[in-house]
Symmetry: D2
Subunit: 315 residues, 4 copies
């Protein structure tokens, strides 16, 4: 498995959806960074989708317990470990999936790879795992803000929900204030790192930066961004990235999410012998998860930016 | 910089476009793999675009010199080092860019990051660097073929060229024969690794797998792939990936390329003081690079697949 | 910082000595390994030195809380997260060190590197951190035992303690049952990995394998190990390692520990201005830590062996 | 295999002893470092042991061919690739070892791990591989010298050679001028990195820093280094390292080498069936390799120091 991301600012996450707890450890966070706990709580509320339409979140406070690395609301430079106990976990709802593979889920692939899986609420593959990313991302954003770098994601497009179906959508993200030259040429281009981070989010099926796929249909004369005399550009078709490095303009990218795969309809599953079983889904399931994913996109982008800020010795 | 890719099958590349040579070192290639040198030459010809429209490649044979790791056309398990000398390099064509920054290129960002750059033919950031990827990818494909895995990329879309402009396009790629369970859950999902590899190719602006961005507009009931009794699926909207792991169906993805940024028109550049200089471009420049990039996409996909085959102990 | 060790079996540790908790996360542990919790408790007791001479351990049970990765005493293949709350922490004993640097400790170097340090009980640099290593090592030993590999460390030498001083000593370790060929040639030699792991243990000042430093005074004709017809050797001067790989004979090495640096005598410390302050030490301090370190050596060796077993696809 | 070392200053080496060439690629060398080619030649002569007693080096100039990364004797920040063709390779001398395993060599372990080996001159496991380390180390020393850091190794002890036998010995190394705080606490301690680097050198059997193994027999009151008012210490028993970080005093360590294992006597080998074959050794073999290894120790120490200088943002 690969539960660690980053080179100098490294996040390790752990936890099954209906296990004892979910959490993470940040290795390499700079020392003496003031940590605003309320800002972290705020991002966790965004992830839970409190008050959002089409969202049915777990009824639990997501209280973060801080285990190490912070003293007097300041980072020590040692590993920052945090966890959230799983309280409102209705494992019984998932008994029906214990011995079958749902369509659109990782039940089958995980079973084949590991020979065992935690069927309770999707275990490690459930979206609950993104909680750890949001906490770490919120810390990353606070490190970035010390250098005037701001990461902001927002809902871009979302379909209308039918009364008995689910939808997906797109999220756009902008990073402003990044100094010129962040990213690593060749295999560590900023767009490579951002793409890998975004595609690691459950349900993401696409990534594009700047003009993205639209650029494939443009002419060179339309695409190139003309210079201003201060080295900014008149347009930003390249999404703030040249040769894999930030060029001082806003870094812009879009992420596509497929619809929620647990649909409010009878699900055609198969058992280990390949026999079909149509199951009436129980448990908590959103009609759309894109709104809740906005803060996850923001978190992953922040983790990438901090790591690159350190790699370029710009912190 | 980050000139190394992979975890167990690791490629290190080197070389400036108009320097002495370009090449690479593969660390971690399995031993006793028969190497077909002609197949490698064939891929190099595809990269050079021999006989393709809208392509003006360098007039040199790209003769690969093998330095280590292969004995009697068989791998030793030791590092496979290879290089190609740069012969037909017209550095003089680039004198005009020595002290200015071209639009759409990495001249400015590299200068800011490193305080120095090889202005000859774009140096390390030129597409010449992809030659090393193609050689390594050709070897990776031969390792994969031993396990019945086949990687095939093809031109998907390309615009018509105006008589004085350049175009981009898209490439699609399919991987067949991959066993179930390749990829690493959470941060090392197969789609994350493929996306990072593709976005590391010069001019790539987007990646999507399966339905990709189109999935964002689908309903859940349309998107989920129904099972067959043999654990294949009736459709393949998910592009052969569930939970970041291969599910036994073909892995499918698309890559977008922006148009060539050196257009056959006067280029508005700026010097270090920010003053504009309009330059008439010299040197070899394609009207389109997408056809030549097809084999690069194939190579990068092969490198990712071999690495994951080893990670999953499936070789 | 570098709080992560291993390539495929990766341990991340966290926690300050007198913070909320210490613990760790194991990423990459094979799935479906039966875990014997009692065996882990046993190793923790060895680390605490219960009943050992010259040892004053903290009066707390070191109850491990398992947060993820294990279900029904079996590994899931997901991250194994564990923690132990710090209960019997007498931070007041350390108030006297708040603004001064002790001799022989990391107070000064950490302050210079991070600009802040947790003065309470040595914070992250205290031996309490080795608790996480012992837990992870105990799990590693259980993975190894599935393949017939056994790691055993024992006290080798220890000086007699004076009534008002501290001592160091040496520990020897033997790994039996390892298959031929574990380790990675060139930079990842088994002895390189073992040495790095051992030197990462607080107070360790030396590592040697086989004849070690004694080999420097031997003649070649004495040193080479003669073959038996079954590819074992008549002697084992090379410590079971040839060319960085295990050769099927027992892997043997020794580790040296310097004496405890908090001596039961007035300590000559300096403050931030460089003025000397002689301090009468308080707090819990062993006269010797070598006996307690035996299980830590065993744990680190086990972590290295498991990682290499996976690297060589021998699990 | 593991032919890559370092995290930010990464060296990849390649080449078999009697293959086409040996060489390496440095990824992550800072840009705009002036490179003194003569100093590199000088270190290569030290490695070849020109004029040294008990040494029979290959009769070839070891001319380094520079392939990339350097322009006008200055680093570009791009990968520095270099190679040396193997000229004076007498492979015929090794025909006798083609189908047998020598004692004290890696013939057997490599055959078991890879199922194939380059029997010509030991292939990848021969000391010829250290040539690449010396070139890279020489560059690393030039980077370090820009920051006033000096790495110096010297012969410490060596036995007298009998007329028909070989000997080993010890090398000591001192690093001066390192700023306070280099190294990574916990698993990346400076002594861990140095130990791993030294144990990766062929024939090395032990590593110790400061008082090393002798410290195990000292009392705490003897071992601790008293402060001076300028934060230097009156003694340097700890070898310049506290808590895994440099403390501003010289970093001192010793390395042990076992004797040359190809002795000038009939060698008792075994074939694949385990039958003994006594062979009269041919080929070039030193009576002692310790003098030639001095510059290799220096090179590996320099590689570790540069990497840590970059990790600590002190370059």
């Amino acid at each position: 498995m690969s539960n660690i991301i980053g080179q100098l600012f490294r996040l390790t996450t752990f936890g099954e959806s209906h296990g004892v707890a979910v959490g993470g450890v940040i290795d390499g966070c700079p020392s003496r960074v003031a940590i605003d706990i309320d800002a972290i709580r705020c991002d966790l509320r965004r992830r839970r989708g409190d008050g959002m339409e089409r969202v049915t979140s777990r009824h639990e406070p997501d209280d973060v317990e801080w285990l190490s690395g912070i003293i007097d609301d300041q980072t020590l430079g040692t590993p920052i470990a945090f966890m959230v106990y799983n309280r409102d976990a209705h494992s019984d709802d998932y008994q029906q999936y214990r011995d079958i593979f749902r369509p659109g889920h990782s039940d089958y692939t995980w079973q084949q790879r590991y020979g065992i899986r935690d069927w309770r609420g999707g275990g490690r593959s459930a979206a609950r795992e993104t909680l750890s990313r949001v906490v770490a991302g919120a810390i990353a954003k606070q490190v970035l803000s010390q250098r005037g770098i701001c990461v902001t994601a927002e809902l871009d497009t979302i379909s209308n929900t039918l009364t008995n179906d689910t939808v997906g959508g797109t999220v756009r993200c902008v990073v402003t204030g990044a100094p010129v030259g962040l990213g690593e040429p060749i295999f560590g281009k900023m767009q490579s790192q951002l793409a890998a981070a975004m595609l690691s989010i459950p349900s993401v099926t696409g990534f594009e930066f700047g003009e993205g796929f639209h650029a494939a249909a443009m002419f060179g004369s339309e695409y190139i961004d003309r210079w201003n005399s201060d080295f900014t550009t008149q347009t930003n078709h390249c999404g703030g990235l040249q040769g894999g490095l930030t060029n001082g303009m806003p870094v812009t990218f879009r992420v596509a999410f497929h619809p929620v795969v647990t649909i409010p309809q009878p699900l055609p599953c198969v058992d280990k012998e390949g026999h079909e079983h149509v199951v009436e889904p129980k448990g908590r399931h959103d009609r759309s998860h894109v709104q809740r994913a906005v803060v996850v996109v923001e978190a992953m982008a922040a983790l990438v930016m901090v790591d690159n800020l350190l790699m370029a010795n710009k912190y």
